[in-house]
Structure formats: C-alpha cells, structure tokens
Amino acid sequence: MPTFVYMTRCDGCGHCVDICPSDIMHIDKKYRRALNIEPNMCWECYSCVKACPHQAIDVRGYADFAPLGHSVRVIRDEEKGTIAWKIKFRDGREKNFLSPITTKPWGSTIPDFRNEAEPTAEARNSELLAFEPESIRLDDGGLHTLESNNLELIEGVYY
C-alpha cells in the first residue's frame, strides 16, 4: 500500500505530487499536507518517498497480504550519487544496502544536438542512427545488414 504521509513531517511542498507516476499523491485541502488518494492504484514504486525532502512519506505493505510491523526506508542522495536502503523485518532484524545511482554529475553529459554539427546527407539516407556506427563500437565500424551477415528473408514454416 501503499504510501502514507506522517502529519508532523510533511510541509505540503508538493514534490511527491509532482513526481507520482500514478497521480495519486495529492495535497489534502483541509490539512495542507500530502496524502495518497487512491491506495489501490499505488505500485509501491517509491518515487514519492525518494522525492520527499523531509522523509515524511513511508510505505506500509498491502493489507491484503502483508502484516504490520515492518519498514523499508530509503535515502536517495543526488549529490553523492547514491541510494541507501534500510530494511526492517517484522521480527526486528535489519538489512542495509547502498548503491550508486549515477557515475556523472547530473545534467552534464547529454548534448543538445542543436549545438552539434549537422548530420550529412549520406547519414540521413542510411540506416544509421545518431552517433552510429561509432557508438556501436564495432572494430570494423559497420552496421549489420542482411548482406553482411549472409541472411535472406524467406517465407514459410521454418523448422
């Protein structure tokens, strides 16, 4: 289930509302804080949990099969480029995991093609995509074709 929001931690900033892929995190009009308006369409994807600057959102396992008394918490740190998970079992055991989320500073590596050289007419008329064949990194530099691989399309049952 879905996500729920701790009343004392949420300040109604709306980051979760902005990011929820299922459009179910909304701001409660009375309390001015976030809430999950449709638990049965929540995927437990944790997008809102990761986006919350105050760790105000948590997840409680789906009531149709998960007992109470557990938690899976997360801190996603964009500056460090890591994500840290803390799993607490119902019986009190804990597991901790840490993974990288990116190897490059955000927003630094993707070119705006408008600043790059125009592709040639030859490239436009070929089967090559942007940055190919270099980006396939074949030593011989070519794109595979039926001819290069001695293949032919043949109709019929082929077994």
């Binding site: 990011i19 997008s47 055991r93 990116t102 064949p133 396939i136 990194r137 074949l138 293949l151």
Partner: protein, 635 residues
C-alpha cells in the same frame, strides 16, 4: 466548463508518452531534425514515468556484438524460439543491430553498468576495461535506480517543450486526407485544461496494458501488479481508435514471479543460479514436457534432443509445467534460494534486484519475515498482461527498414516503424511483433521511428494537413463528458458511489477485469478459454462499451481514470478478437483455447492482424505471412 483550450500548433514530431520508447524518439528526432519542432506529451512526469519509473536492475537486451558475444540474428533466433515462431524477424533484427549503441550511450550519460572483473582481459572500450557483467546471454546488470531520470534528461534537453501530466485520449486525424494522422488531444490532469497538439507526425510511445485481467491482488493491494498500474493500454487504445492495423494482440503474457510482490526472477535464475521445486522438493518441470511436446510438436519442444541443440525452452511452456504442477495439487512452487544466498555477494544481488526495480517485494519479505537465506520463497504465475516490449509482441503492424524488409510488400511501406496510418509511428509497447526489446530495445525503436518521421516530413508527405474546428470541438465535448455525466447524475441520489445513471471508473475497471478473467482466459479459470466464451466476452464488452458512455467522473483525477479505462476496454476488445481468430493454442502457459488445444503450424504459422473500422467499430481479421531470417541451428 471553465477549462481553457490550449493549442500547440506547427509541431513536426509529437511524442505521446515518454517512457523508454518516447524518450528515445525525442532524443533522436532532434538529431535528424535540427530545426523541427519536437514536443512531448506525457501522462505523468517524464522523470519518473513508464514501466521503468522505479528503476531497473538489468538491461535485458544487449547483444555485446562489440565483445564478440552475439550478432543480431542470434537474438532473432532466440526471440523466435521463445514466441513459438511468431516474430517480425525484420523488425527484431533491426532493433538488435542498433541496440548496443543505445546502451553505450546510457553508460556515457552516467548509468552505472556493472563490469565483469573476470573478463578484464577483453579489449579496452571507451569507458574502461572489460565487458559488462552478464546476468544471462541477453541481459547485463546495472545499478538502475536512476535509469529513467537519466534517459529523461536526454529527451528534455532535445525536445522543444515537455508537457507533463497530459492524458492523451485521442489522436487527431487529417481532415484533408484520409488515413493520415494530424496530432493528438488530451487534458491536463492537474489543471483540467484541454490540450490540442497539431502535428505533422506522431510517435506513440505509450504503455501496454496492466489491469485488464483481474489481478491476483485485491482491495488495498490491487495496485500490486507486475506491470505498472499506470500502463493503461494507451499504446493500443490510441492506435486502434485511429484505425491502425494491429498484430499479435492474442499474445498476452503470464509471468512466473515471486508470490504477491511480483519480484523479478531473472537474476535469480540466471546470475544466482537458483532453481524451482514443488512443495515436496521435487523437480517437476521436465515431467510435463513429454505430454506437452505432443501438443506443440518437436520443432518447439524436443524432449530428447533439447540439451544437444541448446535451444532454450520457451517461457510459456515452462509456465505450462508450473501451472500443471499446481493444478495437480503439488503447489506451492518454491524458488530454492537458501543455497545461493550463503554467498554474501549473491545475497546482496538478490536484495538489490528488488530495491532497484520492485521495492514491493522487499516490503513483503520484510513484513512476513522471509529471509531467503533461510527460507525458500514461493513463486506464482501472474494474471495476463498485454504488451509489446517485454517477452510478448502485441502492437501495431509496422513497416520495416528498407534494407531488410524492402522486398516484402506486407512488411514494407516506406518508413521504418510507421503504422498503417500515414505519419503515425510506434515505439516500445506500441510496435507489434517485436518481443524481447525491453527497455533498451524500446529506446532504440523510438530512435528508429523518430528518424523515419523526420524523413517522412522531409519527403513532403506531411503537406497540407488540416484539422477542422469541428474535430477539435467534438473531441473536447467527448473528453469532458464523464464530468458532465457525474454532475447531472449526482443530484438524483443522496450520496455514495452507487447511481442508476452512471458508473464510476473503478467499478467499471473491476467489471472489465472480471469479464476478461472469466471469458478471455485469466487466472481464475487457469488461463482457459474457448470460442463460446470468447464470443460471450465480446458481447459483454459491447454492453460495457455502452455503459462506458455513462462513466462518471467526480473530478479531474477520475476523468484520467475514466479515459484509462476506455483505453483498457478498447485493448481488451482487440485481444478477444485476436484470441478468437487464432484457432489453435500457440502459447500453452499464456492461455489455452480449450476447443483447439493443439498448436497447428499447417494453418497458423502466420502472424495475425486486425483492423477496426473507425466508423462502424467492426474488426477485420487477417493472416499475414511469416518471413524467417535465419536457420534454427546455432552457428
């Protein structure tokens, strides 16, 4: 209604839905169309939308041609075997020959791809020594929590504008020329504003369909499905309504997954080398194969020679063994994890596999004190899903690339990945006959379609498009009708959700799911159907369609759910027509035609297509020839 109408005009390429397919399209469109206007319309926020929203721990389609691992034809052979022959091999080859270049770009953009230290002797690439860590022959392992935000950046940098929170409900058609697309319309799920996108071409990168069959989870947990609950079949609903020819819509998929959480099993089987057993600790799979081989034939399951030929056993047939063993009373089926999990590295991989892409499974194990180091967890088979990018090939009938498909009229009409509607292209779930594309392949398909869309425009094919004001006005009225229906009907009753004049979207969805489950081969009937059931299902779908004219929406959020339901309904209708048309059981383990239990290569070694008449709603079903590229023997 006080909602504004916002018109975005003179668009060259409109990308509808920006998951992995749509982001690939927006990125590539800018490369070949420097001065073209590229616009994205996405239902959620493209930083976290689509099936990869919560992350992905593997890239499931990487050839490794650079490392001498696989050539494109190897992947074609694999996908063909897995789908019992039913694959558009031209499209599959085309995707496979480009897919590595997308993966190499992902790494350049910062996606952490794991390297295999044992293969450090391999030639040095641009990004460091060694080949990627293989999970299996086609999969590589990644730390993919931020996979989607990373590719979304590529799309945002290169699109002119990204409209988030737009539910695209319909494609616009050209009033000047029949069967040509002219853009799309929808509404903003936060402001309620009506959005009109007039565009020369459209790339549909929308999602396949979860939640069209009754899910195993119920109540509060109904969103715990394997495929994202926001994948509402728009990849099909939009295209079918526009009159595009569809293919392989009968090829729904059933997944074997960890019970209740739907946690992935790929890394467990392939990297952790876990295996399954029945409740009594026995290997059960192989004992179902001799009987099954009788039904599907030796070409697909050769029980004596499979270990010599090294042909993988098709996923659906393995499902068949699972389903049969449970039906025989020897369930549950367990994944044997206690051996592998003694290795701390493998234990970490096992858990991070969930945290990186299916957190709900970790939540469930924490809640139920299941530590797979000491307990072998249960598996289950899921409800069916309809999609075109995972291990199934549902979607639109699309043109192939000229150098591969050019000589075959049924496969080629000029522009790669263009549907049978002029100017309308597909990517990811919306392209039919191309299973096993997964995330990287979907991104690649988006790239291919965007390049072709640029060419289509440059060739002058999109000249003189006209969208009448009437079309825009009619769609507006249609889109907001559920709000009107609710407002009027609500006054008849004291309160609550039960009304004689309207149904709300969620009960409507439950009705669709029950119907599809019982008549089209869902979980509660053990995936079994027949011609009688399917015909009854079609009748009930027709009546549901009438009632969906009376779907009510209390607010804009419910209006979103109403239109998702309509897309799911249209998808379901097409699935039932296709299932009825293919008179055989091609994929035992995905579904069974009880009246036609044998696979019939003599009559059905063909692809199926359907086309819905835009004015009458009638479906025209056809067989299409299947062209093969490669022999079945491994080189």
């Amino acid at each position: 209604m006080s909602y504004k109408t916002i018109i975005e005009d003179n668009i060259d390429i409109l990308v509808v839905g920006a998951g992995l397919g749509g982001t690939g399209a927006a990125y590539e469109a800018r490369h070949w169309g420097r001065d073209k206007k590229v616009i994205i319309a996405e239902k959620a926020n493209i930083d976290r939308s689509g099936a990869v929203a919560q992350g992905l721990y593997a890239i499931n389609c990487y050839m490794g041609t650079r490392w001498g691992e696989n050539n494109p034809e190897d992947h074609v052979r694999y996908a063909r075997m897995d789908l019992m022959g039913m694959v558009r091999e031209d499209l599959a080859f085309d995707m496979a020959r480009h897919v590595d270049s997308a993966v190499h770009k992902f790494e350049e953009w910062g996606l952490p791809l794991m390297k295999d230290p044992k293969r450090a002797e391999l030639p040095e690439g641009d990004l460091g020594k060694g080949a990627y860590m293989r999970e299996g022959r086609w999969q590589i392992m990644i730390h993919g929590e931020s996979y989607k935000p990373i590719v979304a950046e590529a799309a945002k940098v290169n699109a002119d504008k990204t409209f988030n929170r737009i539910m695209v409900t319909h494609l616009l058609m050209d009033d000047a020329q029949d069967n040509r697309v002219a853009g799309a319309v929808g509404f903003n799920v936060r402001t309620g504003n009506y959005h009109v996108f007039k565009s020369k071409t459209v790339v549909v990168g929308a999602g396949g369909a979860s939640n069209i069959f009754k899910p195993r989870s119920v109540g509060e947990g109904a969103g715990r499905v394997w495929y994202a609950p926001w994948s509402s079949g728009s990849a099909y609903g939009l295209l079918i309504e526009a009159g595009a020819k569809m293919t392989q819509m009968e090829n729904r998929i059933v997944l074997a997954r960890f019970k209740d959480g739907y946690g992935p099993v790929g890394a467990y089987f392939l990297h952790l080398k876990t295996y399954t057993q029945n409740a009594y600790g026995d290997e059960y799979e192989s004992k179902w194969f001799p009987e099954l081989a009788e039904r599907v034939g030796k070409a697909y399951l050769d029980t004596e020679n499979q270990h010599f030929s090294h042909k993988p056993i098709p996923t659906c047939l393995r499902n068949h063994a699972f389903i049969s063993e449970v039906a025989a009373g020897r369930g549950p089926i367990h994944m044997v994890t206690v051996e592998a999990f003694q290795d701390p590295h493998l234990e970490e991989v096992g858990w991070e596999n969930f945290l990186g892409m299916t957190v709900g499974q970790a939540v469930l194990w924490a809640a139920t004190d299941i530590d797979p180091k000491y307990i072998n967890p249960e598996l289950t088979t899921s409800e069916p899903y309809v999609m075109g990018s995972h291990a199934t090939g549902c979607g639109a009938w699309c043109s192939g690339p000229e150098d591969i498909s050019g000589k075959i009229p049924e496969y080629f009409w000029g522009y790669n990945r263009m549907t049978t509607v002029d100017g309308l292209f597909g990517a990811g779930d919306s392209v039919g006959g191309t299973p096993h594309a997964f995330s990287s392949g979907s991104f690649t398909e988006g790239r291919l379609s965007a390049k072709a869309a640029c060419k289509y425009i440059d060739d002058g094919k999109a000249e003189g498009i006209n969208v009448s004001q009437k079309q825009i006005d009619d769609r507006k009225e249609q889109i907001f009708k559920p709000l009107e229906t609710y407002t009027v009907g609500r006054n008849e009753i004291v309160g609550g959700t039960v009304s004689p004049s309207y149904i709300l979207p969620f009960p409507g969805l439950q009705r669709l799911q029950k119907l599809m489950d019982e008549y089209a081969g869902g979980v509660t009937v053990q995936y079994m159907t027949n011609d009688k059931l399917l015909n009854m299902g079609l009748h009930k779908l027709k009546i549901l369609e009438e009632d969906l004219e009376k779907v009510g929406a209390e607010d804009i959020h419910q209006l979103l759910r109403a239109w998702e339901l309509k897309h799911r309904h249209r998808t379901s209708e097409c699935v039932v027509h296709h299932t009825l048309f293919r008179e055989e059981t091609r994929w035992p383990g995905y579904y069974y035609r009880g009246d036609k239990m044998k696979l019939d290569d003599e009559n059905w070694h063909v692809l199926t297509t359907s086309q819905r008449d835009r004015s009458t709603g009638e479906y025209k079903m056809e067989k299409q020839p299947l062209y093969h590229l490669v022999g079945d023997a491994e080189k």
